[in-house]
């Protein structure tokens, strides 16, 4: 059989969406926390100048793309969690015994996770309009969506790779929290990386989220708000996405149902 089974990918994507729509608490949680972040940090640090934040870019403008990256990161980590909770409730067997290539299963997970991540980011972005954030253009919004999907894909691949190493959700959740926070804070989401000591700064430069958030800034706030050129941002995120998806798919292929 081929590697891509469109109907199976659709089935997995649709299931993720149904579950997302029904889990109201998750919807509210992923929506409210980031808005609090934007509101409290945004107002709290309103007048503060952060090193290399460009002149003419307010802190809220600097912060919103960072928070969108943050939302995407956490949303993507749910995909790894979903594999493990499927295993815990036995549903993973239903998927693994079906005549569907594993690659299609991984693609379905990514499609579902990226869509729900995009919806969450969209909701948060809508909420930030209340605190005065204004995206520059429709083209910018489209470009931002590209970055959000690329970031989702990257971190879903990462989550699947990580999930392959765990048998239950508890261990995964614990480790994910250890990994997500450094990733979020070493990405320039809340302050420029150049404010950090050089040794730590380099970790930030290796973090795909750095380029995703910088790309979002360029797309939503304006080119001069971004630290790196657009092709660099896009190339870095695309490369990271390809690597984590391949590794995730390769490891997921070895996941046993029991």
């Amino acid at each position: 059989m081929g590697l891509v089974d469109p109907l199976a990918v659709y089935a997995l994507w649709q299931r993720d969406l149904l579950r997302f729509v029904r889990a109201r608490s998750r919807l509210v949680g992923t929506f409210v926390t980031p808005l609090f972040l934007v509101a409290f940090l945004g107002f709290g640090f309103e007048g503060v100048r952060f090193g290399s934040v460009p002149e003419g870019v307010s802190y809220v403008e600097y912060l919103v793309p960072g928070v969108l990256g943050f939302v995407t990161l956490f949303s993507a980590s749910f995909s790894g969690l979903a594999v493990l909770s499927d295993r815990e409730v036995g549903f993973l067997k239903e998927i693994l015994v079906a005549p569907v290539p594993r690659t299609s299963v991984v693609l379905g997970r990514i499609a579902g996770g990226a869509t729900t991540g995009l919806v969450q980011s969209g909701l948060v972005l809508g909420g930030t309009l209340l605190v005065g954030f204004r995206p520059t253009s429709a083209v910018g919004l489209g470009l931002a969506a590209v970055f959000l999907v690329a970031l989702s894909t990257t971190f879903i691949g990462f989550g699947l790779a990580l999930a392959a190493g765990f048998r239950d959700t508890q261990g995964y959740s614990l480790v994910v929290n250890f990994v997500l926070f450094p990733l979020a804070f070493l990405s320039g989401a809340f302050y420029p990386l150049s404010n950090l000591p050089p040794a730590i700064r380099w970790i930030g430069y290796l973090n795909p989220l750095t380029y995703g958030i910088d790309g979002l800034r360029g797309a939503l706030v304006g080119r001069d708000a971004a630290a790196y050129p657009l092709p660099v941002d896009l190339g870095a995120v695309a490369f990271a996405g390809a690597v984590t998806v391949l590794v995730g798919a390769w490891l997921f292929d070895r996941v046993e149902a029991a």
């Binding site: 109907l7 199976a8 659709y10 299931r15 036995g90 239903e94 015994v97 005549p99």
Partner: protein, 334 residues
């Protein structure tokens, strides 16, 4: 060619041998039971036949395809109901079925038609749009049976289909299994450690112990290995009674026991009356009891161990897959 041909199948986990050069043939359309204690290797055998586990050695051909060389072909042709529930509780019954149909490449309108058919088959049509989380254990099991049949498999595997259900629900599920087999002609292979389930449900039963098949036959033939039905008659003169019935051609053996005789006859129901008439000619009868040999006794005879004792012991050892499921406490109800 039968539905399943297993030859010399071995599955080893590190140094534990879960399935030990096992041979098995299941004919097309059969309702076939694998009977054995927890940890006998039944679940491992099923998981190998479903392509979820790779065999260490030997071959297993399911629905005409070898599990190792053509797993995709096997998967297309089988339905599986796992020991533990494998439904998405956030989705409705119909959504679970639609998801399954898509994974098996079924497109509308055939998918929608089949969903209605199988829901009707297990009497869940009126609950189709309710979340599976609200279903009872029995309803969930029925939905899983329906799902296993949705894509029209040639072979349906049921791993302990009635474990964790209460007695009434268990009987209902058995009825459904019988009905599905009769109406659709699908080959059913089920594992169980309930003797009554194997005896009441299956055309043929393979008794599995320590990873191999120790006997395989119809439930009747298996129990008749122990000889016929035992009739115990309490009489005042056992010796006279014994001498009177010993010559009857339907009496297999007769022995004097404390306060009476124990007679083994070919068919208990039909022979009790003539037996009592004969005994009554020479002695006065006080009590009578008929005992049919059970698969439990057959198992004891074949393995020297009781199903139940072995089952309890095997939780901590034996088949790692079965042991793990039991240790997780997930084999039970919901």
């Amino acid at each position: 060619m039968g539905a399943i041909e297993v030859r010399g199948l071995t599955k080893r986990y590190d140094d534990v041998v879960a399935v030990d050069s096992l041979d098995l043939s299941v004919g097309s359309g059969e309702l076939f039971g694998l009977l054995g204690p927890n940890g006998a290797g039944k679940s491992t055998l099923i998981n190998v036949c479903c392509t979820l586990l790779a065999p260490t050695d030997g071959t297993a051909t399911v629905a005409g395809h070898e599990v190792r060389t053509a797993p995709g072909e096997v998967r297309r042709r089988i339905g599986v109901v796992f020991q533990e529930p494998a439904l998405d509780e956030e989705l409705t019954g119909a959504e679970n079925l639609a998801f399954h149909g898509r994974l098996y490449g079924m497109r509308n309108p055939r998918r929608a038609e089949r969903i209605e058919e199988v829901l009707d088959l297990v009497d869940l049509t009126d609950r189709r749009d309710e979340r599976v989380g609200t279903y009872s254990g029995g309803m969930a099991r029925r939905l899983e049976l329906a799902r296993g049949l949705l894509h029209g498999p040639e072979v349906l595997f049921l791993d302990e289909p009635t474990v964790g259900l209460d007695a009434g629900t268990r009987n209902a599920v058995r009825e459904y299994v019988r009905e599905l087999n009769a109406r659709t002609g699908v080959t059913v292979v089920l594992t169980t450690h309930y003797m009554d389930e194997a005896a009441a449900l299956c055309d043929r039963v393979a008794v599995v112990d320590r990873g191999s098949v120790v006997a395989c036959d119809t439930p009747e033939a298996l129990t008749s290995r122990l000889g016929g039905d035992h009739v115990e008659v309490g009489v005042d003169d056992p010796v006279a009674a014994r001498d009177r019935v010993a010559g009857l051609d339907w009496v297999e053996t007769v022995a004097v026991v404390d306060g009476g005789i124990e007679v083994v006859v070919d068919a208990g129901e039909r022979r009790v009356a003539p037996l009592l008439t004969a005994v009554g000619e020479v002695a006065s009868v006080s009590t009578v009891s008929v005992r049919k040999p059970t698969l439990e006794q057959v198992f004891l005879e074949l393995t020297g161990r009781s199903l139940r004792d072995e089952g309890d012991r095997a939780v901590g050892s034996g088949d790692p897959a079965g042991g793990r499921a039991a240790a997780n406490g997930r084999g039970g109800g919901r």
